[in-house]
């Protein structure tokens, strides 16, 4: 009896202390997440001259001027953003559609190579894409697909990790009886997949679409090997070029604006979608 009581008082105290601790840690972590972007924002608004005079916490007024400077320069950032959007969007669409299809094949059908294929896909999941990079660029050169988005987009069709997620999700969300019922109604297999399975998989597709989008949006390694023409370069390549030589003639204001340009639009879109994204990520884990 006594011990229970002490436990409870301990716990009572504990809750307040723990809550305080939780808030402190959360505030510190939030600060760590946001601080850099605040500096970025402030510095993007400051002129070249102001930037040489130490740091301030308050933004200045040269944002537009810096932006104009970037626009007049030789780094095609807007084009880069469009290119990145094209590559990331197409990859996300192809990747989720075909990964769902692959997962569907393994989940619903019973065929001789099923077990082998499943193990095979799991095994190749761990092979880093960079390992095949050498053969990949040679292949791309042979097919004359350099400076082309195809070698960046099409490979997204074969995405073991997305496949795995879809397979897991199907196990809990796609009862085989539903497929049976569709067959009895006379629906063809392909139609069943497109009109019944896909809508059912929507939440999983949304999550994986976002992941794939972000992964391709970030991708620097492969595009840097495939794209050489300025008009085709994606944003990460252009960002990396910021570090080279006298590109912007040391106008750090322009450097900051360029970085800001590649970061803030994503943040804004994210703020609108954050609820779904965070939920989506959480949902994935329950199934996994």
């Amino acid at each position: 009896m006594l011990s229970v009581e002490t436990n409870e008082t301990k716990k009572g105290l504990g809750i307040h202390a723990r809550r305080a601790l939780a808030y402190i840690v959360l505030v510190i972590m939030s600060f760590l997440c946001l601080f850099w972007f605040y500096i970025l924002f402030v510095n993007a608004t400051r002129s070249k001259g102001e930037l040489t005079q130490g740091f301030t916490l308050l933004p200045s007024t040269h944002l537009i001027q810096n932006w104009k400077g970037v626009m007049a320069g030789t780094l095609p950032v807007v084009r880069g953003m469009i290119n990145s959007l094209i590559v990331a969007t197409c990859s996300a669409v192809l990747c989720t559609y075909f990964s769902t299809m692959t997962a569907y094949a393994i989940h619903v059908y019973d065929f001789k190579l099923k077990k082998f294929m499943f193990t095979f896909i799991l095994a190749i999941m761990t092979i880093p894409t960079q390992v095949t990079a050498l053969g990949f660029i040679q292949l791309v050169a042979d097919m004359k697909l350099e400076d082309n988005f195809i070698p960046l987009i099409i490979p997204a069709i074969a995405a073991p990790a997305t496949f795995f997620y879809m397979k897991q999700y199907m196990e809990s969300a796609l009862p085989l009886s539903l497929v049976e019922a569709a067959r009895i109604d006379g629906s063809g297999e392909f139609r069943t997949f497109n009109s019944i399975v896909l809508p059912l998989m929507k939440p999983a597709i949304a999550v994986q679409a976002i992941f794939t989008f972000v992964a391709n949006w970030n991708n620097y390694f492969t595009p840097a090997l495939v794209l050489h023409d300025d008009k085709m370069k994606t944003l990460p390549i252009l960002i990396a070029q910021l570090r080279s030589a006298d590109f912007l003639k040391f106008d750090m204001g322009q450097v900051y604006v360029t970085i800001a340009f590649s970061i803030f639009p994503v943040i804004i879109v994210y703020l609108f979608l954050s609820k779904y994204i965070v939920q989506g990520v959480a949902m994935g884990s329950v199934k996994g």
Partner: protein, 471 residues
């Protein structure tokens, strides 16, 4: 033939549409009807002429002119000084009806060379509008391109020796291949000088007169002694150890690569020793050239006494157009410094397979051999151009003053320097070797590695870049 027919059709179509335009403009306000007939008659008289005379040329010349280079220097030269060049946006321009496309890749880490190589190797198969027409090369790797068939002999463009007679001989020697063919032409000479901060000179040395300042930097011993004084006066002698690098590396006794082996010259080791001492004494930093930290000395708050560089550095890089920079206030002075040296230099090359040979020729002639344009460049941009008689005349001309240098006329100094430039120790591997050497030694200067480890790192880096080399 097809092209001819097509362009004839196009001309007709244009003419027709103009006439239609005139016809419909009858309804428009009077002001425009005044102008329209004039335009249409002009078009009429011009059109027949062009179908006869200009037609063959138009059929040969491509509509897209691709230029490969690594920064904006040549672009601004062309924009400012080439007659008829109009800027469309950051990476395109127009000369007449030809679109000029700039393909700019930073030279850092051989990126420019790699990109250029890839495109040149595909040149034969590329569509006419994608072919490189003109590209620029730098002294550090000029040799790599000079002895290949990807670079056109200048005489094949129709440029004669007489056209280039006034140019400095060394600018021709570098880019002459083993068969004696000249493969590129440069518009600038790159003798380097010591560029000092007048304010710092006055504060610490008590004078900002070039001849007096020279006494304090006349050789490396006095240079080192002055560095101590500068330190006491609150100034860094140079912004970074890499500032003095070219002065040492141009006064070497042999090439970077000899018989497939990497050779570190004694003079470079002297640079390492001298620089290490300066870094340890906190008289300079170890920043990469072109980094933001390195360029801080372009402003008074940066507290840097001097930079080393040729004319293009003064003009192109030292932030002369930014308020508050030393250059903007004319606060630099120039003097010979401890040793003569050169840095950079850009050569214009025609790419084999160009479909705009006559434009390549014209650009080369206008930008490197047209005396009026050359003088214009000197006056407007303070560059040191590749025309010996013109430069010598201007050196003697007291009316020429460099704003950045506070009214000083540095041309005599440059002229003297240009005479002494010796490029016989260049190798095709210089860019990679120089970059890796500076980078590896930075680790040593910063105290992150022993000298031997840093040298190992250097060899490793170079051999990764050029697998054919050993040490």
């Amino acid at each position: 033939m097809k092209k001819k027919v097509l362009s004839a059709l196009l001309t007709t179509a244009m003419l027709a549409s103009m006439l239609v335009g005139c016809g419909s403009s009858n309804e428009a306000p009077a002001a425009s009807t005044d102008a329209a007939p004039a335009a249409s008659t002009e078009a009429k008289t011009e059109a027949p002429a062009s179908t006869e005379a200009a037609e063959p040329a138009a059929a040969e010349e491509g509509k897209v002119f691709n230029i490969y280079c690594w920064n904006e220097e040549f672009k601004s030269r062309l924009t400012d000084h080439y007659p008829g060049y109009e800027e469309v946006d950051g990476t395109t321009g127009k000369i007449g009806d030809i679109t000029v496309k700039w393909n700019i890749t930073p030279s850092d880490d051989n990126a420019y060379q790699n990109n250029l190589d890839e495109t040149l190797l595909k040149q034969a198969d590329a569509a006419a509008d994608d072919k490189i027409d003109l590209f620029l090369i730098e002294a550090d790797y000029a040799l790599k391109y000079v002895d290949t068939d990807y670079t056109m002999p200048v005489k094949d463009l129709g440029i004669t020796d007489a056209d280039l007679a006034n140019q400095y001989q060394y600018t021709k020697d570098v880019v002459t291949d083993s068969n004696g063919n000249l493969k590129g032409v440069s518009w600038q000479g790159c003798p380097g000088v010591l560029i000092y901060n007048r304010e710092a000179a006055k504060a610490v040395l008590g004078t900002d007169d070039p001849a007096e300042v020279q006494k304090s930097v006349s050789d490396w011993d006095t240079f080192t002694a002055t560095a101590e004084k500068m330190k006491a006066g609150g100034y860094n002698m140079v912004s970074s150890v890499n500032d003095t690098y070219r002065v040492y590396s141009n006064n070497v006794s042999g090439k970077w690569v000899q018989d497939g082996k990497i050779v570190i010259d004694d003079n470079l080791m002297k640079w390492v020793d001298d620089s290490k001492k300066m870094v340890d004494a906190k008289e300079t930093g170890t920043f990469d050239l072109w980094s933001d930290d390195w360029s801080k000395g372009f402003y008074p708050d940066g507290k840097v006494f001097c930079y080393f560089g040729p004319a293009w550095l003064i003009n192109f890089s030292m932030a002369a157009d930014t308020d508050g920079s030393i250059a903007n206030q004319g606060g630099w002075g120039a003097t010979e410094g401890p040793q003569g040296f050169f840095w950079g230099g850009t050569w214009i090359c025609g790419a084999t397979g160009t479909d705009n040979a006559s434009l390549v020729k014209d650009i080369i002639l206008k930008m490197t051999a047209d005396e009026d344009i050359m003088k214009e460049i000197v006056v407007a941009d303070d560059d040191f151009v590749n025309n010996k008689p013109a430069m010598e005349a201007m050196a003697a001309d007291t009316s020429y003053q460099s704003k950045v240098l506070g009214g000083q006329n540095p041309l005599a100094m440059f002229c003297a320097g240009a005479e002494k430039i010796d490029l016989s120790n260049l190798s095709a591997y210089d860019q990679g070797c120089n970059e890796e050497f500076q980078h590896a030694m930075k680790n040593y200067f910063d105290g992150k590695a022993s000298l031997d480890d840093a040298l190992d790192l250097f060899y490793k880096g170079v051999e990764e870049k050029y697998p054919e080399l050993t040490h």
